[in-house]
């Protein structure tokens, strides 16, 4: 080695052989490949839309769109089949409303507790513990609603049906609590300290600061959490498929109803040949569900954005 200790500009070129071309090529290859991976998400979205539209068009060739959207009887697969989607939408809205009645207030109050009241140590384990609630497979919730909650409700409401909207909706609400709580808590936690201190300086109590200053300041973030929670409930499948039943009717909370998702599962468990109109109903109901959740998701993205802009 003839080179003197690290003398700048007197590098021994024989000791430094970097394959510049290879590293350039690698850099470009990696960038291209990873960019393709990222754009896969756009492809997926296109895929969803394409698949849904394709069979939906086939469906509407046979069934007038008006009959589908405003018909009040859902009876596919029968000799005199009818394809009015309203009973399914009703079932979805009913179970969603029950779930929202549980999840929205409890989720928001839990978020207030986590952000404003819980000691740091407690908060650190309570949050992940709540997240477990969202990680329990929905088929387990369905089983729990059917075999635990429904008999329990039967003690209060005599004449409750084995499959009913109430039990499914309530358990769905529990499942959604973490979604509402975690998104709300992020929003509440992000409210600047100064606002709280301003409240305290005026002599407000902790509750008054939380409910009259912090919550209003975090309102759009909380709205986002509500919308996201509702979107979850609309798309939730197994709980309602197991516990709410499969009767496409305008039943009360104690009766059996069929949601859009439960219908898709019910058709799918049977062998349905591609190309039949029953097969196409999977896609047309799926498209209806997709549009509903898409609107809700976009709404929640807008709310979140508005919140981020404020703080």
């Amino acid at each position: 080695m003839s080179v003197q200790a690290g003398r700048g500009g007197e590098r021994d070129p024989n000791l430094w052989r970097r394959n510049v071309r290879a590293s350039k090529l690698r850099e470009r290859g990696v960038t291209t490949l990873f960019a393709a991976f990222a754009y896969l998400s756009i492809l997926t979205t296109f895929g969803i839309v394409l698949v849904l539209i394709f069979e939906t068009i086939n469906f509407f060739r046979q069934v007038p769109i008006f009959d589908y959207l405003f018909g009040t009887t859902w009876r596919p697969g029968f000799a005199r089949a009818e394809f009015g989607v309203l009973p399914l939408i009703y079932g979805t809205l009913l179970t969603t409303a029950i779930a929202a009645a549980v999840a929205l207030p409890i989720g928001l109050l839990a978020a207030i507790y986590l952000s404003e009241y819980a000691p740091t140590g407690l908060r650190r384990w309570l949050k992940p513990a709540l997240e477990i609630l969202a990680g329990v497979p929905t088929v387990v919730y369905g089983y729990f609603a059917l075999t635990f909650l429904t008999p329990l409700l039967g003690n209060v409401f005599t004449g409750i049906s084995t499959f009913n909207a109430l039990s499914a909706g309530l358990i769905m609400g529990v499942m959604i609590i973490p979604t509402v709580a975690s998104v709300s808590e992020d929003a509440i936690y992000a409210v600047p300290r100064g606002l709280r201190e301003g409240g305290y300086a005026l002599g407000a109590t902790k509750r008054e600061v939380a409910t009259r200053i912090v919550v209003p300041a975090a309102l759009s973030g909380i709205a986002a959490s509500f919308v996201l929670g509702i979107s979850r409930a609309v798309g939730e499948t197994m709980i309602v498929a197991i516990a709410a039943g499969n009767l496409a009717q305008f039943g009360g909370p104690l009766e059996s109803v069929q949601t859009m998702t439960a219908y898709i599962v019910a058709v799918s468990t049977g062998e349905t040949a591609a190309g039949t109109i029953t097969y196409q109903t999977i896609f047309v109901v799926g498209a209806t569900l997709f549009v509903m959740t898409l609107i809700l998701n976009i709404l929640s993205i807008i709310f979140v954005r508005r919140f981020r802009e404020t703080y």
């Binding site: 109050l109 990680g135 497979p137 609590i177 973490p178 939730e236």
Partner: protein, 315 residues
Amino acid sequence: MSESQTEVATRGSGPGEPEDKTAFKNTSNNRNLTDKLFTVLVTAAAFFGIVVLAVLLVDVFRDGLPFVDGQFLTSLSSITPENAGVYGALVGSILLIVLTALITVPIGVGAAIYLEEYAGDNFFTRAVEVTISNLAAVPSIIYGILGLGLFVNGLIVPGMGPILLAGALTLSLLVLPVIIIATREALRAVPGSVREGGIALGATRWEVTRDHVLPSALPGALTGMILALSRALGETAPLIVVGAVTFATFAPPISPEALFGRYGALPIQIYDYIQRFRPEFKDELAPAGIVVMMVVLLLVNSVAIVLRNRWQARR
């Protein structure tokens, strides 16, 4: 509560209003009471979910645990409850999840690296970001419909039928957004100074990412990945739609051939048992299957935690 003393200044001291000490004091007491009630309310709300979770776990384990035995774990599905088990479904689920992990981890990490380390702030990147956060909120059953129309029956290319690969691809599309979001967050947590340090030595961006950024981000990303994959393990609806077998009377072979064969899955088997006519299925086999699934989930998640802790200890 130190705040309670600060109340001593507001109400009733407005301009023009005469200061009535006694009335003032009463308000304060009422407010104190409301405050205490509110504290109880929010605390109850926060613990409500935990209580329900505890009741659920106790209920399920009490129902199911007595029926989990060697016979149950090693038997295939059967129409006679005494002979029925979850073996075929369990193998199916494990294969599904391994395959899904093999597909999604490289793609998800790659996409996250592109978005976080390479992509500039332009229209396309923003479109990708909005798309990903929307995809993460699309109901899982919609992914099932996508898999049905795209992989199973084929849209532009011919379909592959209701095979394991189609199921894994469907689950992959489902968890990919979650994995990308988790990995991005972990990458974002790596300080920019690390990247600068590497670049200032004459390294390319990929060299810095590969050797410094990614190793630092991986433990954090790993947690998110395992959470996403364990969610996929419990997914039922999309697999039903893409035609997983509800009644697993066979176990897929542990070989590449399995990719192209039919398959069952644990949550679907449970759903099937709940739906059966004979009460033994719903009352004994279904909760036993749930116990097995919950234990598998617990194992997967503990492995994730152990792995992450070891990783962090090493650095």
